[in-house]
Amino acid sequence: MTKKTRNFVLASGAILAVGLTTGLVASFMGLPVSVFSRAAGPDELQYVPADAAVVAYADVRQVMNSEFRERFRRIEPDTRERDEFERQTGVNIEEDIHSVVAAVMPRPEGDRARGPEQSILVLARGRFEQGRIERLALDHGGTVEQYNGATLVTTRDEHTDAPEMALGFLAADLIAFGTYDAIKNAVDAGRGAANVASNTDLMRQIGELDGSSAWAVGRFDTLTRSARLPNELQERLPALTWFSVSGHVNGGVRGVFKAEARDEEAAQNMRDVLQGFLALGRLQAGSNPAVRQMIDSLQLSGEGTSITLGFSVPTEVLDALEALAQAHQGAAVPRP
């Protein structure tokens, strides 16, 4: 074998060896995505703890700048509450918030006292006047403290004086809102503790949704376990493991719902049920062309354990809804 041939064999073998080793390491030990490329999903995910059951994201700027939002702005009754919020906090929701990430944490086993609102963490990226918000909190009996390099504005329980809800300033343009413990966990996750980027299964699901205006992905079984549903109801729920919803907003709304069932039989049952609902919807749509068009846009597919339902709300349907809302508003205004 000549030197040239040997070099070629070594180079080809090296490519194969590096690829196989990378894949094996990723499969058995989890892949630190950021080593090779930007992690899937928004940067805020580094503040979401690794055990999150559901993660959702919305590109607020994209939604606010869309024709879809413009339609709703036209039929909005008044903006008094929003204006009051801006006057107090200095935050214009339409212009100052760029994106929002929300996460739902699973309820610990046996914890029956914690309500669902206590499992939610909201991260908002945008422009915030930290000093103004801190002053507002202090005026209303809140406290300000430092935790692991982040400023936390906390409200306290009236009876026990224990920290309750908190607002954390994680970076110059990033705030977190949730329970005191949730915010502390978010700060820790951002400072090197295990965050959702190390949750390979969840990141795989998020990776498939990247690029949408808004999405949500989560473990259905964990969520139903945390929801404290009666056993009878839990048994009747579809046997789903993962679900995700993603949408793209512009003139209309286009999106896709995906779910993974526990086994192929459960997936087939779910597809059959959805198919039945679609048929019923088509029957009910009758001669209403806008509704008919929306029902027709629903596309059910999937194979094996996956179920996919694509949907689209075209501009014609929104036109019809807008006309309906305007007629309703016109009827509500008393004639002079």
């Binding site: 074998m1 070629f8 490519i15 690829g19 990378t22 894949g23 499969s27 892949l31 899937a40």
Partner: protein, 269 residues
Amino acid sequence: MTFWTAARRVFDLSLGEMLWSRRTIFMALVVGGPVLLAVIMRIVEAFGLPALRVNGQRVQGMQVFGVMIWMLFLRFIVPVLGVFYGTALMADEVEDKTITYLFTRPIPRGAVLVGKYLAYLVCTALVVLPSVMIVYFLVVPFGQIPGTFRHLVTDLGLLGLGLAAYGAVFAFVGAAFKRPLVIGLVFAFGWEQVALALPGYLKQFTLAFYLQALVPHAMPQEGVVSLLQGLFREAPGAWTAMGWLAVYVVSFLYLAARVVERREYVLEQ
């Protein structure tokens, strides 16, 4: 000299010849196509745009990779390489009038074919498999690697098996027939396509029938031929398919070696 020592000597000699022949330029071009597509796809994705959409929905990287493996590699590249290299194993020596030098050596004639066949297998695998690896890492997002890696390993094994099976069949064609290239092309892109689309047992006389049974990705349904194949699809089990492919490899290699042992090659003056 034993059969296998002789085969190893021929392998050493032939590997370099094959790697640096004009055929390798053709192979690089064929295999470079999917890599180029993957690079373009990666660049488009880097700009935040979906590289491929079907019915308005973004096609995921693993699905694109699955289609590339199915449509480009298994249905086109592997048979093409099998035809061009397999049929040339003996035919090139005859055409170049160098077969005499090999046959006058004190080695079994069959070892010449087996050595050359092994060189073909290593040569094509060294080009095709790394290119598949590159395509995989370009097309599939890193976040999806843990969940999809076993598909890649299956694909690599499948491509190796495909190269071995097509190579063995076409090595026999090259050893036994005149104008082997034409026969090979007719078999790979005529007979196999037609037989797969027909109902009945004819498809069992194709290699693609057994290879498609091992593909871990869903068979794409685009195109009339694929739809027809889907309708008449009777996929054998994985072990049955692998067993039959192994039978094809051993049988055709044996037949090819036997033909080379017995045939009198008359060199045209």
